[in-house]
Symmetry: C2
Subunit: 342 residues, 2 copies
């Protein structure tokens, strides 16, 4: 057993895109679990755009991380020393410890025990974890999805967007994905089988292109981008249309004053549009059922995903920056130990 | 029986506030009802801010009125000649004919027969009509109101706002009304018994004043004003808070580019806020039940209202302009014949 571990701490508050010097690698002595606690040696740490919101000061709602604290993330790990009845040494678990090689918990941050369902364990912080569950409950509970609807997904090549798009396809909807660049759009159309993929970088009039692609209007907008895309699509919303606010990736690196304002709110009255956000933990009691349905779609090929793996905790800041630069796509993960499932 | 009647037609499309020359008084020969039709001599025509949206070109959703058409409104009238089995000469009815002394219908535009419930007949196009029903279904169906909630109502001295505020009080909520000027605020607080009335004209920092007035946050925002007020109150919304988009009076005379954009949408995720609009006719099957409950509150004094009556159809344009100038408040009506109920 390794007596030390490394974690990535916030060194300074971010202003715009994350930079290497905003983070520092800290080496610590491994703690001993007290009664009721268990120690987890992490195999993976996730790289999530939503993490960005706690790395700046001056946001209104969630207190920012303190300087020196570990940056938040989800992990897959193996229990290494347990003094908690519910966990045995060797158990594989999904937790939220952050960008760290080691996690200590009394139950806090624990998400699920990993069941061997034939899928790689990384799926438990991907399609079976917070991103996929956000897609699932966003469409099912907030979007009240049903067969035959027209569904638009923004940032559709990201993990949340791509999963949402494929869930909507599996539920017999017409699905349009919006993403940046021909590679992502080809993947959405050819690999994932969406009905249409719109490359927002390849048009001068995105609104008109979306309108032409959705001649019967839009029933559900599943938005990961933010106010500008909501504002653009609002005039296309059908009667009783639903806008699911899943994420706001375009806002995370913006100063508050620079954020686009939604003007086309007239549709809320004329078309009885409903807009609602979600935090997936509100649905925690229904996670096992959702994970079983998602696993079924993964195993039968109706849901696919891409991963980009970085090796070593020291790669986390760079991997984090790259998700905002949009160069690559799919779930970004940092691998800290060899994956026993692949 | 009068052989002619007058109506107010749209003479030119509006740009900004309504002007006298945008309208014209047209004298017409009274039509004869065909089989299945009935003729109504109007006693009242309503003056509604929402009418404004069809008097300009270039709006996205609802086609504008054609030049020469009668401006839309609700009416109370008496059936004068019926060739429709469901209506007898002398029946008092609520219809949507517009700014006109006479209406002809085959059933279209008919809203309700007026039951003698001890209230003045004008209530049927006020608290018991579209304004009051908008307040009722906005709070009950969209806002999912329940006792103990903190409810903010904007444009609270208007018919819709004042009715919403009093319904919320009747349902044991803490209610804060926002209105312009000391007279309206005194009426809200002293006459209607709201918990607080905020004069937006008397403060340099409305957001801070609202925040101080709502130390426990806001559960329901019932908005009649538009994006600027929604944006200001969004950061105060409690977990699972609801924003009811009832009207957008501040937008009606604005050019689209001048409309405020909602920026503070982060609360949709962090606080799971839901925003939804309504058009009251979606609830038409439940009108009788709602009208009975509203009539009960009117008769026992839990709901009060103010009316400002103008005499003569030719007064309609001026009355219309005055509701946007905010000089007076309460329901604006044009009286066309003596009211048999008062």
């Amino acid at each position: 057993m390794n007596k030390t571990y490394r974690r990535v701490a916030l060194a300074s508050y971010l202003d715009g895109l994350p930079r290497a010097e905003d983070f520092e690698i800290v080496e610590e002595t491994a703690p001993e679990p007290a009664e009721g606690e268990f120690l987890v040696r992490n195999v993976y740490a996730s790289i999530d755009p939503g993490t960005r919101s706690r790395l700046s000061q001056g946001q209104s709602y969630i207190p920012p991380l303190k300087l020196g604290e570990t940056v938040g993330a989800f992990n897959i790990g193996r229990v290494e020393a347990s003094r908690n009845d519910k966990f045995q040494d060797g158990d594989l678990v999904a937790c939220a410890f952050g960008w760290t090689e080691l996690g200590l918990s009394n139950g806090k941050g624990f998400m699920s025990k990993i069941i061997d369902n034939g899928l790689p364990i990384s799926a438990w912080i991907g399609v079976l974890g917070v991103p996929g569950l956000t897609s699932y409950f966003g469409l099912k509970r907030v979007g009240e999805i049903s067969a035959g609807k027209t569904v638009i997904v923004t940032s559709a090549a990201g993990m949340v967007g791509a999963t949402a798009a494929q869930i909507a396809k599996a539920l017999d909807c017409r699905v349009i994905g919006i993403a940046g660049g021909p590679v992502k759009c080809a993947w959405l159309k050819d690999e994932l089988g969406l009905d249409a993929a719109i490359d927002y970088k390849a048009t001068d009039d995105l609104a008109a292109l979306i309108k032409r692609t959705c001649p019967d209007g839009v029933d559900i907008l599943f938005d990961n981008v933010g106010n500008a895309s909501v504002d653009m699509i609002l005039p296309l919303m059908n009667l009783n249309g639903r806008i699911v606010i899943s994420g706001q990736i375009s806002h995370y690196n913006q100063r508050e004053g620079d954020i686009h304002g939604i003007r086309n709110t007239r549709a809320f009255i004329t078309h009885r549009v409903r807009m609602q956000g979600l935090v997936v933990f509100d649905d925690i009691r229904d996670f096992p059922e959702a994970q079983a349905e998602l696993a079924g779609w993964l195993l039968n090929g109706q849901i696919k995903y891409r991963e980009k793996i970085y090796d070593g905790i020291e790669q986390a800041p760079q991997a984090f920056r790259e998700i905002f630069e949009g160069k690559d796509f799919g779930r970004h993960l940092v691998r800290l130990l060899p994956d026993p499932s692949v």
